[in-house]
Symmetry: D2
Subunit: 306 residues, 4 copies
């Protein structure tokens, strides 16, 4: 039985499910939300209600926030009536909202001044996963704090990644969601082109799902190539650039706007301008890092995706 | 035993491996290339050499071309000394080069005038796959022609997709390579951002490979959502747009140029301008089609990825 | 002689010059800044110093803010110690910082609650123009407020545009700076292409300055064409699209990345997808508005640029 | 009186006007076009008709081509029946079409083999200017050839720029049209933003025409700053980047897609990643050249725009 008192602020679509799972699994929960219905529902499940952040802060040793933006998180964390000013030393604020990483950094600085600490643990997957306690969490926390919050995360989700120190949870989520949203756009542009070409959709999907166009790149190609420091060519940047020229020429002839294809084309053009045309196309990762003076990405030797 | 005489023009890095596999598996092959070494090597394996397109055309009923660009393909297919002018009626030209689909269309028109036909069968995967007869082919052909070339494709590769009529092979390859090259850029931008954020690479990869950011979208999410005509929200376009705002704000603060992220952000902005902010983010596929007056993509009912 | 007491908060590189010009021209000024040197310099010129926003607010009827971001502006305007809580009814806050228009809107709502009002008057041109009282101001204000602040603006600059109600000054500045910064990028891409082409720079400049590529478009072409509702073609969107295809093909062959050219190309592709290829290329303005459900821009009949 | 026989191939919307002006001003003209009406009209004005490129080539010492694409130009210039195979040594082919510069380079190589030469002189301005002999020509030619064709150009237009050797005319036109088409898009995005902001159009135009947003940059700012090697800041890249952040944040809030603004923002981000944030914003020209390994653009000392 966990002996900590848990505060939970923010019982929206996701937060309510997450809080419910905590109560159902035996955690002592004090909840707060502007919406009295959501509070009542949680009270029925066994939580206590609080109408006052300061009171909740005094009563709890772990406070979870699940709020829309950094404005709301800062308004409950900071100030004379806020969590940091009223909780006891050692309290952990676990913010599970998706907010700007710099806001998380500011919270952590303020927490340290009060002898407390912050954990950032934004949520992956959809609301229906939260209902079933199948969420994914990307967690930035010290090892000690991670150990304290881990039982709560296990109660709310099925996959927990400890990404590193405070701030890495939110940053990892941004990298992840950049990829997720962009793939959505890429798929959409590909399907638009396919439709305009008059291709059979089922056939196109079969091909896209059967080749490395499917993001096996990150699992298979990148780790063996650029991330291992090997850019000897399987498929060169020059050939990738040539294929994108054919794609865009065909798209322009067919009147299919493909802004992402065009942006990619220019990036490969920049690589060619920097004399990298003959390396493997995964090497674009090195080129992009070099052009922005970022350290190249390398996996440790022996790394495997599984 | 296949009774057709096969011509093979273009013994480059890929073509030579493909032709070799045909000879080794018992096909009667006549080959041609500007490079005498490659021709000699094939002759040693059992092929006959030809120095003359017209002669090769007269002698073969299926002629394969594997050449750098449409210029070379047209120069061997067209004209008084070309394939169409010299082959017997019923001959099939199977072009396996990656060329502009409009060039394939022009070849097919010319073939029809001579009582012949064209198959476009560009090659997926890498040169090393061609060595091992493990290439993937995307084939545009009539059903009858597909049946004729299928044994050859099976001898040269391990995966053969019949995409539809002539011209669909090359178009499918363009759609596929758009996705493949763009994913490469997306991964590279994501890794650059992750590096600048100071994230641990192994942790980042674990997350990216463990969530739907990995292109499970096209296998799982799209078919059940937008491609089935269902855009009730799991994760809305508005939320995707908000996350991209956070991504770009963090990238700008960290001085990481992300041109593809920026292009995606504007596309989602266009969707919001068209009152589509509250639909599922897979619905961007419909929005893109609508804004370009393209028919929306829909899988037939009962479609499954496997 | 102006009888109002003027407060001036923010004596940075621009603000100090502006405040100095006010004092020199006889306005009664109370100044405030974190930097004591800047305050001392103004006091020497005849201003009074204030160390306290509340005191300054009680003493002045027009308060000017010239601060880095909306955070600083809001911190002096709002709260118990801020301008609105301490100034007398009828006081005008003239914010000359460049901040987000929504922040200006929030300030105005708060001002109204206190019987006060806001003027947004961001500054155009460079610091050296501010030194010489040659700045340009884009002003959002009620007519009455504009009349009150006009003498101050005339003392600090040489060009004053009354753009409309509160909030229009900052919005106009954003539109203007979008154009200014983007033209800078466009010129830079053009010069990079010209250099890679090996063209003589003086010759290229002569041509660029001698044709409508020079932004005579907005003075001459747009008002007579799209802004007058006339999109009969002088130079069609199709031809503009074709020329951009040639530009990008040449740039790609020469390894010159041109991300802006690529984005423009896709926008013209979207216009063609919407059956607008045969209208005048200025008509892209209508297409962009239509695709984003924005009212088309039209000048009143009889409008002239001078 | 000019003693050369002039051939003119291509009597389309522009070509017919240009040819007419030559005949009216006393040049001996032989014309050719697929459209018999256009030929008849020119014959009425005093030209002779030719139905045969070879005959025209034998009869003329300067042959002008004004055709849709490089395909048509090459088909009349090259081959056994073409201009080069049939004209006398010393003949000049003046191509006034807008074609890919590499096609011009190929023509010139072929011309040299026949003891002839090429002039590329694409046309600026609109069809109505061609009617009134007010076209602008960007000419790539040797000095001797330029002297020969100059009288013809003066008869067809009012502004003639000798840009350099063969190939520079077309390349200059591409640079110029990149700027012209892109400014059109930039103006359109600016007007869309202004409309969505609810700004008064006449006021916005007044501001845009009154500040350096109007392309005085290339006439005034660039020559004194980056093109003179001076990037001490008037307005820094960091400030330009910050303003673009405000522009895009406001545009996103207002649901105005601005793909060009987004591309520009990323370019300034790349400059900041390369430690160039504190230089003058015109310095983006140097940054772009450096990142693509292009020689920086510099005007000769003493250069002036007039």
């Amino acid at each position: 039985m966990n002996t900590e008192n848990i505060g939970f602020i923010g019982l929206g679509r996701m937060g309510k499910s997450m809080a419910s799972n905590l109560v159902k699994k035996g955690f002592r929960l004090m909840v707060m939300d502007l919406n009295p219905r959501a509070v009542t529902d949680l009270v029925r499940l066994g939580a206590r209600a609080s109408g006052d952040v300061a009171q909740l802060a005094r009563d709890c040793t772990i406070v979870i926030t699940m709020l829309p933006t950094s404005v709301e998180v800062e308004s409950v964390a900071l100030g004379a009536d806020g969590i940091f000013a009223n909780a006891i030393a050692g309290t952990v604020l676990m913010d599970m909202s998706t907010i700007a990483p710099v806001a998380t950094d500011r919270l952590q600085q303020e927490a340290i001044r009060h002898g407390m600490s912050v954990v950032d643990a934004p949520v992956g997957r959809l609301a229906e996963h939260a209902d079933r306690a199948e969420s994914l969490f990307m967690v930035g926390a010290s090892d000690a704090d991670f150990a304290r919050v881990k039982p709560l995360l296990d109660a709310m989700g099925s996959t927990v990644y400890h990404c590193g120190a405070v701030g890495t949870g939110g940053r990892t989520k941004l990298v992840n969601n950049y990829v997720a949203v962009t793939l959505c756009q890429v798929n959409a542009e590909a399907l638009a082109l396919s439709q305009r070409f008059g291709l059979d959709l089922a056939s196109t999907l079969k091909v896209l799902l059967g080749t490395s166009a499917n993001n096996g790149q990150l699992r298979l190609n990148f780790p063996n190539k650029v991330l291992a420091g090997d850019t000897t060519p399987g498929f060169t940047i020059d050939l990738a650039h040539k294929d994108m020229s054919l794609v865009l020429a065909a798209a322009h002839a067919a009147k299919v706007p493909m802004p992402v294809a065009a942006a990619v084309h220019e990036s490969f053009s920049a690589a060619r301008a920097n004399a990298c045309g003959s390396i493997d196309f995964s090497g674009i990762a090195d080129v992009i890092c070099d052009l922005a003076r970022i350290e190249r990405a390398r996996t440790p030797s022996g790394w495997s995706p599984d």
